[in-house]
């Protein structure tokens, strides 16, 4: 459809407060919510913290595995970011604490061949990201949300957060990352969702 279709009788509510700032932070096709909706494909996994590890494997010189206590001891910082879910909600100024992927990957020493990160989670979920999209402060593993430990239904004890991509890329219940030379579509990426998922380009589904 080259010409824009107009829906008969639709006016819409526009941005509630008319703020240009909020409008400029709302990706196409999204609406602002103040809730924190939950979406996942199966039951919420619960791994006891004493059994929890975070590993980095694949094309690294030094595979690493942190226990929960070791992970908490890594340098962390607070992040305030806007999050967009492919189901259309966007939530502004979400406040997390976590560890930058830069910090995590530093410890493992990435091999020059590595070009993609496959994040994997309890329950078997995976998602893929090009390495350049998660370095330099663009992604972190969060274990606190809004000043409290991250709730299990929101991905606790720890989840990946990649604010510049639709939220399915922010793998809940993350347990590790594998570095690869080749790309490999993850769970939703194999089920018709976009391989990159950039919300500002509205890359929702395969072919967008």
């Amino acid at each position: 459809m080259t010409q824009r279709f107009v829906t008969r009788g639709f006016v819409g509510r526009r941005r509630d407060d008319g703020s240009a700032d909020i409008a400029s932070r709302t990706p196409p096709g999204q609406y602002i919510t103040k809730d924190f909706p939950v979406l996942s494909a199966g039951p919420t996994p619960r791994t006891p913290l004493e059994q929890w590890t975070f590993t980095i494997q694949g094309l690294v010189k030094q595979p690493v595995a942190w226990s929960w206590q070791e992970f908490l001891a890594l340098p962390s910082r607070e992040w305030t970011v806007d999050i967009s879910c492919v189901t259309k909600w966007t939530k502004l100024d979400m406040r997390w604490r976590g560890v930058s992927l830069d910090t995590l990957l530093e410890g493992a020493e990435i091999d020059d061949q590595a070009a993609f990160v496959i994040a994997w989670s309890d329950g078997g979920y995976t998602t893929n990201l090009p390495l350049p999209d998660v370095l330099n402060g663009q992604a972190f593993v969060a274990y606190e949300y809004d000043g409290a430990p991250l709730a299990a239904e929101h991905g606790g004890p720890a989840r990946l957060v990649v604010p510049a991509r639709y939220f399915w890329k922010s793998a809940k219940w993350i347990r590790g990352m594998r570095l690869q030379a080749e790309d490999q579509p993850g769970f939703w990426e194999s089920l018709g969702y976009h391989n990159r998922g950039d919300q500002w380009r509205e890359e929702r589904y395969s072919g967008d």
């Binding site: 909706p37 909600w89 239904e153 089920l191």
Partner: protein
């Protein structure tokens, strides 16, 4: 799946009230490639000045009815889209739609074995696509729907579910009403819990495939209870909606 999901101009073929606050819309699509039960569509509304909004809606109808697709929409009083759909849209209107979307929360009659469907409120919608498809395909696999609704007037698809339940093809519906029951109500009268799930599951067994759709709290508690009962987490598929589904 290299093809892109293009927007299509659907024509509203019919409008049908399910309850006071829930209405179904039959959409005829010009280039529908068919769907699998459990998938959804995206809907885009655009105002004169170009302002537009998008929402996702589960498909309620069975694929056998393609290229007609039903969506069932609950009217959220302070919502932006559902009041428009309820109050403005009439047969003959056209709406921009694309899909089908989602390939995980799907069930097809070619998948054998017992089936447990658990729905809360309008979470029954994608499950209804599975139930209708199952009936249409003549499947006889043991199937249960446990449907949680607030009150007797809020049970979506009630007559159709009761009719399908009476056909003796292996499908049975169990209702629970969480807030209001009329005298003589014989169904459950509490929130879904482990005991209720055990009872509904007993005749079909723990090897059942499970699909749960509803508000987050219901999905969380039902999925967790089923894992405690002993079902493999890999057999349980969930779809949730928070309080923001407008």
């Amino acid at each position: 799946m290299a093809h892109s999901l293009d927007w299509q101009l659907a024509t509203v073929a019919g409008v049908h009230d399910e309850t006071d606050a829930v209405r179904s819309f039959s959409l005829t699509l010009p280039a529908w490639t068919g769907h699998r039960p459990g998938q959804h569509v995206d809907l885009r509304l655009t105002a004169e000045d170009g302002y537009s909004v998008e929402r996702s809606y589960s498909i309620a109808s069975e694929p056998e009815r393609s290229p007609e697709v039903d969506i069932t929409v609950e009217r959220i009083p302070d919502g932006e889209v559902s009041p428009f759909l309820h109050d403005v849209v009439i047969p003959g209107d056209r709406l921009e739609v694309r899909g089908p979307i989602g390939g995980y929360f799907v069930w097809e009659a070619s998948q054998p074995g017992p089936l447990l469907l658990v729905g809360g409120g309008s979470g029954v919608v994608p499950l209804m696509a599975m139930i209708r498809h199952r009936a249409r395909a003549g499947a006889m696999n043991p199937t249960r729907l446990l449907l949680s609704s607030r009150g007797p007037g809020e049970i979506i698809y009630r007559e159709e579910l009761d009719r399908l339940s009476a056909t003796q093809d292996g499908f049975q519906v169990a209702h629970t009403l969480t807030r209001e029951q009329l005298p003589g109500w014989t169904g459950y009268a509490r929130r879904i819990d482990e005991a209720m799930l055990s009872e509904v599951l007993a005749p079909i067994g723990r090897e059942a495939r499970v699909y749960i759709c509803g508000p987050t709290a219901l999905v969380e508690s039902a999925a967790n209870a089923l894992v405690r009962i002993g079902l493999a987490p890999s057999r349980i598929r969930t779809e949730r909606f928070g309080p923001t589904g407008t």
